[in-house]
Symmetry: C2
Subunit: 316 residues, 2 copies
């Protein structure tokens, strides 16, 4: 059976696991890194002055390109629902706290806060609007209340400057951006919250081993060797229920998180488990709650903010 | 170096190229296949009666899942711009012909005709609307003309029933749907047009070799063996300019298309080459045209319709 023609990939022999300390030297930074750093820096400085807490919310899957001029890539399943939904709550929920400012770091074209309510596929805004004989655009009666509510929250976040968006595509973009945000946010001390909901790739092809052009398909199959992404942090989206709690505990020990939010692929919209060093706390929505449009992210964020407040109190 | 724990994948030895005749027995049909077949069947029958031509436009990339409960997948780069843009023109461009009815077969969540003008990332509709003190929603003055124009075309397509949408995710979904559409559309004879703009995977993992749950990352890398997708049809999105024309010609000979639209990844928005058995025809937009918002798809579709009309004349 013939091998594909791309020498760069077929000849590659996996070596030792990738060294975290040289990862950022050996892989290219995203082009817009300096721009995004300046944007985040200004945002953090502004909210440091007002005393508002700042949350970094990551969202969506990261890709692993197989070619430098990328046609093919490996991806992780994630529409970005968890992240986009969670990012809305801290912005406007003043009932619990003074509110957070949110850096929404998301996969390009994944769901975003507010506009997520009008996915083009399932709830397209064009279907909610009509053009009358005079050429005026009207929002249909049955859609007006909901659209007004979304628009009001969106405008409030814009006016108060409590939301910025930065985006990534590849796992390398993601890691560079995360490192930069962490450094910039360090001045916030206990007032910084990291809510990492992105689905991050486990494996990647280092820049030096990547084919330049699209890998040509000959008459045979394709064999790919991928390295493991250095374990700066670890995603946790399982499909096997037996692995959920042990993996969450393992991540707590290994990466020093305060909390891991575990979920299963098939039940993630109505069941999550919050695991910390000492306990497990389950959040489960009833069928009635789901039908009423309650979102589990509201409950996750509420719980997170409680714990964050306790953490701040303990450190002040 | 340790191998990943998934026996299903690591033990798999590539065999002979996959047999096209057994592909549909050995890989699972998409769940909604019967539903979509009924929808397309009704649509085709309606337009067969009115004598309107019907175009199948495919759009977006196909995925190759690595697990049955899919967390990871291989994907092809495509936002669906070419397909979604092209699908708008035949619906309303009566200046050229009586118009086409369009079956828009697209990757789930990729761009769609009409709503594509309001991508949530680059041109979010929420930014075009304001909420006044009385709670009424208004479209900003500077956005109204454009939104009215898009809405008018969208409503016309809806009212006349000239557009249906069906979606796919994996390359197997895509191939099943394409086969069904081809069979159903055969009654249209020369009045059927197949505009295949989707970016289709070259390689896949057959169902029998797929891991059930998310492949666990041990301490090593990942080695994947993938089979070649049977060459029912072939995509053509190149990054290497030397391969473009020879590959287009090869595809014409091998698959019996009437026309191949070749484009390069980096110039696809302003340069395409239409290749048929006897000639090559270049379509190139000037910088001024691009700045004025001219879309290359308008010119592609116009040329296609001319050729389709000639084809119909030759066969009647």
């Amino acid at each position: 059976m013939a091998l594909p023609q791309s020498a760069a990939i077929q000849d590659y022999q996996p070596e030792q696991p990738v060294d975290p300390s040289t990862y950022f030297e050996e892989n290219p930074a995203p082009r817009n890194l300096a721009l995004y750093e300046a944007k985040v820096e200004a945002f953090v400085r502004q909210h440091l002055d007002t005393g508002r807490r700042v949350a970094l919310v990551t969202s969506g899957g990261t890709t692993v390109p197989l070619e430098v001029n990328t046609v093919r890539f490996m991806d992780n399943f994630s529409a970005g629902t968890r992240g986009a939904t969670s990012a809305e709550y801290p912005c406007w929920s003043r009932a619990w706290t003074q509110g957070y400012a949110v850096i929404f770091m998301h996969r390009q074209f994944s769901l975003q806060p507010y506009s997520r309510h009008y996915s083009h596929t399932t709830n397209c805004f064009l279907d909610h609007m009509t053009l009358d004989n005079k050429g005026d655009i009207n929002v249909g009666d049955q859609f007006r209340d909901r659209m007004s509510a979304v628009l009001a929250k969106y405008q409030k976040a814009k006016q108060e400057g409590t939301l910025i968006m930065i985006d990534f595509v590849t796992v390398t973009d993601y890691l560079f951006l995360l490192r930069s945000c962490s450094r910039i946010m360090s001045v916030l001390r206990a007032h910084a919250l990291f809510y990492l909901a992105a689905a991050v790739s486990d494996f990647f092809i280092p820049a030096k081993n990547m084919a330049e052009h699209k890998i040509q398909s000959g008459d045979g199959g394709l064999t790919l060797h991928m390295d493991q992404v250095p374990k700066f942090l670890k995603p946790l989206l399982e499909t096997d229920p037996h692995l959920l709690i042990p993996k969450a505990r393992h991540a707590l020990h290994r990466y020093g998180h305060q909390l891991v939010i575990g979920n299963m692929l098939n039940s993630r919209k109505w069941l999550v488990v919050l695991v910390d060093q000492h306990s497990e706390h389950e959040i489960r929505l009833s069928k009635e709650q789901l039908e009423q449009g309650v979102e589990i992210e509201e409950h996750i964020v509420k719980k997170l903010i409680e714990q964050h407040s306790a953490h701040i109190a303990a450190h002040s």
